[in-house]
């Protein structure tokens, strides 16, 4: 969060060498705007292609000779209608939302408490606990999904969204704890000391002083967790079997891809709709994403 405040200052300071370095406008165009334009074009093209395919009628999709593929002559909502009314798509969206919100809440509570204990209650070995939680982030899901599947079966949670809510914190908690430790560090300890002197209990301090001051950090951690759990794939693929309980990314790949002729219109419409919630979420909280991403790296 400090980055947001700090950025304008560094940005102004950086202006000086830049103006010195770049003399001619043409050179600037060739060296900066042209490559930037290419980057943006390539990075965004798949989304454009996804969006435009979702609204194309099938006749246009498969006929590049008569229709310019980069544009739609007669846009249609047929694919989206098919998705919403002929498939379990609304159900998948709902499950994904439920899983994302559930695991985000769980991870936020666990990591706020852990970060508070590590950063503020400072006990012997707190640095090692912090390091241990951080190392947990380096264990990739690809190594864990097979044994986790057996654990999930043991707990009787196979094929239940609850399994995902409980498993996702394994990669959310390390990230959130890490982020919140950094955030708690930026809150002056003197505030807590004052409250201690005034006779507040530790929990009162956490609730009344530290948490309200840490709200931006909590938002960062929350939106990040939401995005990561929305996007998670391998656990959802391995632990959920029945069509109705699948999350959007898994369901599109396993339920909509049928037979040899791919329904590209429906597939792309599904991808577009599945991407929209995180994209909207992202556009609302862009600054928080930026600061948590960069803050996490700097930490």
């Amino acid at each position: 969060m400090t980055d947001i405040v700090a950025q304008p200052a560094t940005a102004d300071a950086k202006a000086a060498p830049d103006t010195m370095a770049w003399d001619s406008g043409l050179r600037r165009l060739m060296m900066i705007y042209l490559p930037l334009g290419c980057f943006v074009l390539i990075l965004l093209f798949p989304f454009y292609w996804m969006a435009i395919t979702s609204f194309k009628p099938n006749a246009e999709l498969m006929n590049y000779k008569e229709h310019n593929p980069f544009w739609i002559s007669s846009p249609t909502l047929a694919h989206i209608k098919h998705l919403l009314f002929d498939t379990a798509y609304p159900r998948w969206l709902w499950t994904t939302m439920l899983v994302a919100i559930g695991s985000t809440t769980l991870s936020l509570i666990a990591s706020t408490l852990a970060a508070y204990a590590i950063e503020r209650l400072r006990f012997r070995g707190s640095a090692y606990v912090g390091l241990g939680i951080y190392l947990a982030y380096l264990v990739p899901p690809s190594i864990l999904f097979i044994p986790l599947a057996t654990v999930v079966v043991q707990f009787g949670l196979f094929d239940s969204p609850l399994a995902l809510i409980l498993v996702y914190p394994t990669f959310l908690v390390p990230f959130c704890t890490w982020l919140l430790i950094g955030y708690f560090k930026s809150i002056p300890y003197e505030l807590e000391e004052c409250a201690l002197v005034d006779g507040a209990t530790r929990l009162q301090i956490l609730r009344r002083i530290t948490l309200p001051l840490a709200v931006p950090g909590l938002i960062s951690a929350g939106i990040f967790s939401f995005t990561l759990s929305w996007n998670e794939f391998i656990y959802a693929l391995a632990f959920i079997q029945s069509g109705a309980n699948k999350t959007v990314p898994v369901a599109i790949l396993t339920e909509l891809v049928t037979g040899d002729v791919y329904q590209w219109g429906a597939l792309m419409a599904g991808s577009l709709l599945g991407s929209l919630p995180v994209a909207i979420f992202y556009s609302l909280f862009v600054d928080y994403y930026m600061s948590s991403l960069t803050g996490a790296v700097k930490e």
């Binding site: 930037l36 989304f47 593929p69 666990a110 097979i146 391998i234």
Partner: protein, 318 residues
Amino acid sequence: MSVTTLSSPVLAQRQPSWLVRLFDYKPFLIVMCLAPAIGLLAVFLTYPLGLGIWLAFTDTTIGRKGVYVGLENFQYLLTDSLWWNAVFYSVVYTAIATFGKFALGFWLALLLNNHFPLKSLLRAIILMPWIVPTVLSALAFWWIYDPQFSIISYLLVDVLHWRTTNIDFLGSPWPARFSLIAANIWRGIPFVAISLLAGLQTISPSLYEAAMLDGATAWQRFRYITFPMMMPILAIVMTFSIIFTFTDFQLVYAITRGGPGNSTHLLATLAFQRGIAGGELGEGAAIAVSMIPFLVFATLFSYFGLARRKWQQGENND
């Protein structure tokens, strides 16, 4: 800390409830605060990690408890050409994709470090590939790589007339491998660029001013200021990137599922195919465990290889 010991008795007088006092007792509070996080990680991360290593030494299948078979699974893997294929492709995939991501990502970060209108909007847009679920953008790539209706083929054949036939992106091994690597680079650039941009912004402009007064060229400024100053952050971002590229699953599973002819299997997709889809949990776990040495090696290499450079330059990078 001395404040704590002073205030506790005071509180005890004012708030007689034993529950409140218990929760203000520091060791108890520490345990309570750490319990949810440590508990979740222990049950769903540490335990499965150990269980996975144990499973790799058993012949467990879905629905049947296995017995200890020693190194049999690993011995089998060493004779399995599919496993060697997956190792080979995982290494190639990681090496090329990491190189591409960092070369292009660093370039993009340098570009974004300039001043131009709508900079923050552009920065926000660029992160999109990283925000959107990987599987869903992978589906878009699958469609872009379609053998018949690929938009890239259309551009090259019908618009630019550079080729006469459509490109068969996913139909034969090497084109399929490179198509997947391209998709992975596409997805990885934003994260690398935005992280490195944060690093670039911490470099003090006074260093560049001093270098320019001494007559350093743009390349020299990059080589002797930007690059060394970025080393620590590069080491961290690269370690992460290598770990998550090597263990990648989603892109390959969504686009080729290991085909054509098992040529694009990564270790993770092979482990899934054997372990979950095929039901051979023991063998799948062995494949997953076989990733660990590579990961440890790659992590040590990228972290210490790059971090040592920082030590050589001294610690004065504030």
